[in-house]
Amino acid sequence: GSGAAEEALTIDISIFHTENDPFNDIFKEWSEAIEEETDGRVKFKPYYSASLVSLFETLDAVRDGSVEAGILSAGAISGQISEMGLLETIGTFSSEDQYKNIYKDVTPELESLFSDHKVEILMWAPGATETLVLHKEDFITDLGQYKNLSMRTAGRWQGEQAKLLGAMPITMDPSELYLALQNGTVQSTFQTVGLTNSQNLHEVTPKMTALGLSINTIQYVVNPDVWSKISEKDQKTIKKISGEVGQSSYSMLKKREEEALKSMAEKGAEFYHLTDPEREELLKVIQPVNEQISKESAKAKAILEVIDKHE
C-alpha cells in the first residue's frame, strides 16, 4: 500500500473549449467524481481555451507526453485515425437511448483503437445532441433548399455530407464564420447549439433549423506513461466513473443546449424543428458517407456495424 500510488497525482489536461462551455459540465462532473472517489489521489487540472496546445495538436502532444492528458474531437483527429470519421459525421445518433447503446458497444472498440495509436481513451461524449442549420432569412426544411446553398463546413466528412445534399461546401477558419454569415460570404452552416450560442451567431442568422441529429463527438485521452502511474485500483475507479459520466453526458449536454436555445430565442432567434419524416429523408441522403468511411479499415467496418445495429 505504499509508494507512488499513494501520493496525489495531478494530471494537466488540455481542453479546447472554454470554461463556460456546456462541455465543461461534463468535465467538472467527471473530474470531481474522480478526485472524490480516489480520495484525492488523482486530480485533473484543466487548461481551458486551448491555452496549452491547440485542438489539432492535442493528440500528438498527449502521445509524446508534452501534455499529460487532453480532450479531442473526432473531427480534429479523423485525418490521423480515419475510423473516427464515423463519430464525426452528422446523424451518428439522434436520441439518448441510441447514444447510450452505441456508447456501451463502441467504447471497447475505441479503447483498442486508441491504444493502437498509443494513447489511453478514458471517456467520450457527444459534440452536440442537436445540429442547427443557420440562415439569415429562411428555415432549411426542404432538401431542395440545399441545392447550391453555400455552406461553411468543418472537416472532411461534413463537406462530403453537404455535397450529397447538393450544397456548395466552403472552407474557412471558425473565427471568420460570424463575419462571413453577416456579409453573406456563405449563406449557411451546420453548427452545434453550444458554438452557435457562444459565438452569438443568432445575431446574424436568426433562422435556425434544428435537425434533431448529433454532430461530432469529443474524447478524453491520457498519456499511457501517466496512466500507468495510477494504481490499478484507481484506474478501475476512473474507468467506472468515465463509463457513467460518458453515458450521462448526453443528458447533461442536452440540458445546457435547451438553455442555450431558450436564451437565443429570447434574443430574437427563431427555430424550426424537423419533423420525423423530414429527418428520415435527410438521413437517407447524408448517411451513405459512413459506408465510404468504413471502407478505410476493418476496424471502421466493425464500428459502423455497431452503430448501425442501434439505428
Binding site: 472554454t18 481555451s49 491555452s51 500528438d60 508534452s66 473565427s175 463575419l179 459565438q199 452569438n200
Partner: protein, 432 residues
Amino acid sequence: MESFLLFFAFIAALMLFLTTGISVAVAMGMIGVLGTILFISPNALAQLSSITFSNSTSFVLMVVPMFVLMTEVISSSPIGAQVFRTTQLWLGRFPGALGMGTVLTSTGFAAICGSSPVTAAAIGKIAVPEMIKQGYSQRLAIGATAAGGTLGILIPPSVALILYGVITETSIGKLFIAGFLPGAMIAVLLCLTFLIIALVKPEMVPVTKIKVKWSERFISLKSVLPIIILVIFVMGSIYTGFTTPTESAAIGASTALVIVGAMGYLGRKNILQILSNTVKTTGMFLFLVIGGVFSAFVLNRLGIPQSMASSLLGLDIPGWVIILLINLLLLVLGMFLDPMSILVIVIPLFFPTVTALGYDPVWFGIMVTINIEIAAISPPVGFNLFVLKSVVPDVSLGEIIKGALIFIIPLLIGLILIILFPEISLYLPNRM
C-alpha cells in the same frame, strides 16, 4: 511567490540571451527549449515541432505573406511617394501633417486587416522612408507607425476581438462595434501627439513652407487613384461578402500586382526583389511567432501567469483597485509575452471576477485589447517593433524602441480614458 521568482528567472534568461545579440526568435525559442528540458520533460520538446507546424498551417498567419506582398508591390512603385506628396501639397503647412497622414493611413488599413504587426509592417514599409525623406526624426516616424499598427486589432475586423469574444462568449458583433470609437479616439490621440511635438520641438517635425497653386493640388489627386482602387477592392470584397478577411489579403495582393503592373513598374528584376523581400519578411515573422508561442507554452505549463493572476485576485480590495492591478499586470506581461498568448492565458482567469464585480464584458474586452496593443510596442518583446526593424532595416532596434516609447503615452492616455469613461466603448454597442 514561486511563480513571481520563475517569472523573473524567465526575464533574466531572456535578457541574458538578448545580450549576445542573438535573434529574438532564437532567444525566445531557446528559453522554451531550456524551460521544457528543466521543468517539463525532454520528450516535451516535441512541442516545438507541434507549434511550428500548427503556426505554419494557421489561417490567421496566412495573411502575412499576402499582405506583405501587397505592400512590397506598392512600395516598389512610386505610388506611395506620390500619395505622400499629395498629402503634403494639401496639408503641408499644417504642423505634423505627414505624421498624421501616416496615422490615418494606419487607421484605414486597420479596417481591412485584423493583425497589429501586419498593419505596422504594411504602413511602415511605405511611410517610414517617406517621412524620413521629408526630414522627420527617425524615432518619430517609426514610433508612429508602430503605434498606428496597433489600431489593426482595435478597429474591426480584429483577430484579438474575435478571440476575446470566443473565450468569454461575448458578442463578437458588439465587440466590433465597440472598437470603432476607441479606435478613432486613439487615432486622434496619436495625431495630437504629432501636433504637440510639432509645436514643442519643431525640429523633429519639419513643416514645408512652399507656396502651392490649387491647380497643382488638384492634379496631384490623380496619384491617389491607384490607392483608392486598391482600398475599394479590398474593403469592398469584405463588406459585400465576396471574401472573408483572410481571402481579402489575396485580393489585395493581386490587385496591387495588376495596378503596379499596368503602370509599368513590374520588371523581371523588380518582381524578383519584391518576392525575395516578401519571403524573408514572412520567414522572420513566423520564426518570431513560433519562438514566442513556445516560450509562452512553457510559462503557461508551469502555471506562472495563472498563479500571478490568482494571487492578485485573492487580495481583499475594492473593485476599481482590482481593475487597476489587472491593468498593471497586463502591462508587465505585455512587455514579455506576445499579445495573443496574453489573451488566451490570462483573460479566462480575470473574466469571471471582473464580470462578478459588475463590469461590462464588452468594455473589459476593449480595455484588454488596448493593453495588448501596448504589449505589441512595449520593449523588450514587441512584435510590431521587430517587424518594423525588419522592414526598415537601417534603423537600430534601440532607436525603434525609443520611438515607440513616445507613442505609448497616447495609448496609455487612451487606456485611462476608456477605464474612466466606459461610455466611449459602450455608447455604440448599447444602441445596437
